[in-house]
Symmetry: C2
Subunit: 340 residues, 2 copies
């Protein structure tokens, strides 16, 4: 019970009748080794099924980093974030880095827990979807010059410098709402996500801007906030439907809430887009198979992940590089749910 393959360089060295240094050299190709000696070492290693301990390597080595990228997202069940994860992973894997993804579940304590675990494990750097702007730990980490890239959301902390990759949320929202307006809608409700998120703030700005540009005034009862989950969409939609004067269109700011919204509308037998038109933020694989097919602002999740990983890799190879903010543009995918 538990031999657990704990052979060391020394065991291999002994079996191959060489020094530990030679074993190390063979494994790392860090210096010329005689072909035959090399063979002997490899055979010995194979016989013992030897695996170098990365823990020891890391403790000793000058290359302090682990070739492991930590990715912390806020909701792994949300396909938008799994798309990001895929993007990160593809780039990382191409560069022989492993990605370890952790799910903070929008919970600050969990985020902290994972951040600390990953630092303790000495990951090379982080790609992070921060839970909220104001995070002391993250500030510390960044000030400690730990390589960090924020993705999807910005870290709105005073004068701090971080790489970031985000989407032009304001523009995306603006286009969605503009579309609705041009279709003749005036009473346009918005279901916002968590209030403190930069994405929520920006999308809401797009909404306000569009209304303003078209001389439509904001109506309090049409501006809702929910929890970015399906449940939140259902609840908000119910609330909207109870209004004396219902909205003629709903702009839902996140994929899962949109699903909830659609469900509730269908449940209550509302005709979409006849009675109420619907546009969502975030286009999903199933959007076109929905009833009705959903008009949505498509965010390039995969590309977000790719860019973030590339950015992190660049910083890793050049730590003194200036930080940069990459902003990707979303796109409005028009389908039946908003009419035409």
């Amino acid at each position: 019970m538990g031999k657990k393959n704990n052979y060391t360089v020394e065991d291999v060295a002994k079996l191959a009748e060489v020094s530990t240094a030679t074993v190390s050299r063979v494994f790392n190709k860090s210096a010329k080794v005689n072909e035959q000696t090399s063979q002997r070492v490899l055979e010995a290693a194979k016989e013992l099924n030897y695996r170098p301990s990365r823990v020891a390597q890391r403790l000793r080595g000058k290359r302090k980093h682990s070739m492991i990228i930590g990715l912390i997202v806020t909701d792994l069940e949300n396909p938008f974030f799994s798309e990001i994860a895929r993007g990160v992973e593809d780039i990382a894997y191409q560069n022989k880095n492993a990605v370890m993804v952790c799910n903070s579940n929008e919970d600050k304590a969990k985020e902290k827990f994972y951040l600390e675990a990953l630092i303790a494990e000495q990951v090379s750097g982080f790609i992070l979807v921060p839970t909220t702007h104001n995070n002391k730990l993250i500030t510390e980490i960044i000030n400690d010059e730990y390589p960090v890239v924020c993705v999807d959301r910005k870290l709105n902390i005073g004068d701090i410098n971080v790489d970031s990759v985000t989407v032009n949320n304001k523009q995306g929202a603006y286009r969605a709402v503009e579309r609705l307006i041009k279709l003749g809608h005036q009473r346009i409700a918005i279901i916002n996500g968590l209030e403190e998120l930069s994405t929520t703030v920006e999308r809401f700005e797009g909404y306000k801007q569009a209304l303003e540009d078209y001389d439509i005034s904001l109506v309090d009862e049409l501006i809702l906030y929910a929890d970015s989950r399906e449940e939140g969409g259902i609840k908000s939609t119910k609330q909207l439907l109870e209004l004396k004067e219902r909205p003629t269109a709903i702009f839902s700011i996140n994929n899962l809430m949109t699903l909830g919204c659609l469900e509730e509308l269908n449940t209550q037998g509302i005709n979409i887009p006849g009675e109420i038109a619907l546009i969502g933020f975030d286009d999903m694989p199933w959007s076109k198979a929905l009833n009705p097919p959903l008009t949505a602002v498509r965010q390039p999740g995969y590309e977000l992940g790719v860019s973030a990983a590339e950015l992190l890799l660049k910083r890793l190879s050049n730590p003194s590089r200036n930080t940069s903010d990459i902003v990707l543009n979303p796109e409005l995918i028009v389908r039946a749910s908003c009419g035409n």
Copy 2:
């Protein structure tokens, strides 16, 4: 540039004017330390913003494991697997373990890469959705007494003993097909997933069993295999629709393929379930919002993850424990896509 907070026990010891041993004792509460000394150490540590290096701890310490669970899934973008991940994570977090999830993307080389990375990092153990049955590396790892739990798929290797948590796939498939038969269908097509997966094999068995029990013979042209992705569903459906004699019902074995299937059916204007009925394996958050709402076999993804994590934790605390196989039962969720 790059101070990177590399303070060590020694720095703290110096500042607090104690020995490194004392610092260690304070941090690990591993022995009585004078209250005042302890205070001094803590202050010194805070001042330097000292974080013990887990790498060094692990190299030295007797507790060899890291409180990190490695989870390797085959498709992180598939919500079924993210549900599993959530289950694993919740249990792990409750027990102060971190989860690092890796995505093998159904690729053996990638699976190997991650397996080795995680072992090298000395994770406490694995929860694994194996890419295919026959995997030498995994056999080795298990034989090395590394704690492993297989989830969703079994590792059909000869005499090896592993903990596993799976779904009763045969039963689930049987019920789906039986339902179709009872609704009067005789020409029932099946779109299988990757041929070598245990899940595919078992679901196909359920299909065959049901047909046999109701005296319906197997028809080759109605038995298709695809790649478990949306694209595969589209392709297979096209193929089915080109048949001289079309099936009257389709049983699609995986969520993403079902989506593809539905899309293609809708694209070609097929009436569901009028012309062709559809049942899928795997119920998803969006299933009820589809057009038409989808009848599906619901797999308890979250519970799968929970059970797997619990099993792993048990093995960790008692390595000589007998292995066990947990089988969870699926459930047929009836909606409009199969008629009634």
